[in-house]
């Protein structure tokens, strides 16, 4: 087995392991996106639902691995894309099936709501400095590259195949040199916009007696957003510097190292969220079960919140019942399209 295929299998296995535990990282009164009794997760019925989900998810992951293997050996591009897609979409379907199996044990969510009357404004962790640093890093790289313009090769690789060989090149133009930095800025800006959306438009603790838990959960998520901004700045900075450092076709920092760094940083920030999610007494999230389509898509025009906690996955999701959500989706599409148009 080639080293590239091994790396792909490691990624696939990592995703499968993540999906294996993902349904457990929820509030204590939620099971597969359904509001249940707080101790339901310890019952035999709950374990049966979880076991069934895991069997389906692992079976699909195995099929995804076969597709990946066939894709690499027969050099069929669609198989390479279909493998991971099948794994993730399959897990979503398995989760929706788990939700259907949990529904008979659903409890009517308590109507009691509580909100703090403290009007203190919240900020992203680290304050303005933590927000500015990633952009400053990318700007510093841009200044450095322009100061050393003549030392850059006239043609350099900007894309590499899974075997590490360069397959796309750029000329020494502002688009070619600054492109990765602009793309990095856009992705980081999107992260920050999401962070501010969480601060401004997600509940600070809707259910009685869970405000403290929610505050810590929000904080851990916001820390992850700020931390990922720094990580992405480093990643895009290294990619932009590659033509200067490498002078050849190879990547100075190998793909596996970049991937490992991203996984390590993500894990470091996700771990506190997982720990908080495991605590008992976190109750429910105060969103009606019937507004969750397939347990994952929140659509509630009666809820003024634009962002709500995910019921499957880490972090927050959009309330598609809120008109402003389409603005956010438009911004996302724009951020994907702008680098392509450049």
């Amino acid at each position: 087995m080639s080293a590239d295929l091994s790396m792909l299998f490691v990624v696939l296995l990592s995703i499968a392991l993540l999906l294996n535990w993902l349904p457990l990282w929820r509030r204590s009164s939620l099971w597969f996106g359904v509001t249940v009794a707080p101790d339901f997760r310890n019952t035999l019925d709950a374990r049966r639902v979880l076991r069934q989900y895991r069997i389906e998810m692992w079976a699909l992951s195995l099929v995804a691995a076969v597709l990946l293997w066939a894709g690499v050996h027969r050099e069929v591009a669609w198989m390479l894309a279909a493998g991971p897609m099948l794994q993730v979409l399959g897990a979503a379907v398995a989760f929706a099936r788990g939700r259907n199996r949990t529904r008979p044990f659903a409890q009517h969510p308590a109507g009691a709501r509580a909100a703090t009357l403290a009007a203190a404004s919240e900020h992203l962790p680290g304050g303005p400095v933590a927000i500015v640093v990633p952009y400053a890093v990318l700007a510093a790289v841009a200044v450095f590259l322009h100061a050393n313009w003549q030392r850059l090769p006239t043609r350099f690789p900007i894309h590499w195949g899974i075997d590490g060989t360069a397959d796309r090149w750029a000329e020494r133009t502002w688009r070619g040199v600054d492109g990765p930095l602009l793309a990095g800025c856009l992705v980081i800006a999107l992260l920050h916009v999401l962070g501010y959306m969480i601060l401004a438009a997600s509940p600070r603790g809707r259910m009685a007696d869970t405000a403290e838990w929610t505050a810590r959960f929000r904080r851990a998520n916001l820390r992850m957003i700020v931390g990922m901004g720094w990580t992405l700045a480093a990643l895009f900075g290294v990619l932009a510097l590659n033509p200067y450092l490498s002078r050849g076709n190879e990547l100075v920092v190998p793909t596996w190292l970049m991937l490992a760094a991203i996984i390590a940083v993500t894990a470091a920030f996700v771990w506190p969220i997982v720990r908080i999610s495991q605590e008992p007494g976190s109750g429910s999230d105060g969103t009606p079960d019937e507004c969750w389509k397939f347990g994952q898509i929140y659509y509630n025009p009666n809820d003024p919140a634009l962002m709500v906690e995910k019921r499957f996955g880490v972090g927050y999701t959009i309330n598609f019942g809120n008109r402003a959500s389409w603005l956010l989706v438009g911004l996302l599409v724009l951020i994907v399209l702008v680098p392509l148009l450049l």
Binding site: A112, R113, T116, A119, R206, P304
Partner: protein, 130 residues
């Protein structure tokens, strides 16, 4: 406002949500949990936190502003005012006496014993005295 000061409502209750917000917030104001010059969450913030429509919270704030408890100004949020209690006349007293009797009757009809009701009223008296 301290972090401990929480506004509580019950969506399953027969009472309209804006009425519940007015009643509970007024209780907190009278008991001093929310003091004059405190800044309350904006309409938008409170609506998101409670999961109710913006207009519901805006209605409640407006009612309390009309009673003289709150000052609502665009851009500066909602501030608690120093409110001078109006002088109550005999008719007002009679009105509240009737409502208290109705409330006590309702409590007894719900199965609460006179001893429990007396204890609850006594605790209210303690709060008033303090």
């Amino acid at each position: 406002v301290t972090q401990a000061a929480q506004l509580r409502i019950d969506l399953d209750s027969a009472a309209p949500v804006n009425r519940q917000i007015v009643d509970h917030l007024r209780t907190l104001l009278v008991e001093g949990a929310v003091a004059p010059d405190d800044i309350l969450p904006s309409v938008r913030r409170l609506a998101i936190d409670l999961g109710v429509h913006f207009n519901t919270v805006a209605d409640a704030y407006r009612t309390l502003a009309e009673e003289g408890w709150l000052e609502i100004s665009h851009g500066r949020g909602v501030r608690v005012r120093r409110r001078r209690a109006p002088r109550a006349d005999d008719e007002t007293l009679a009105n509240y006496r009737r409502r208290l009797r109705q409330l006590v009757a309702e409590m007894r009809a719900q199965g609460l014993s006179p001893a429990i009701i007396v204890r609850e009223l006594a605790s209210l008296v303690e709060v008033l005295k303090s």
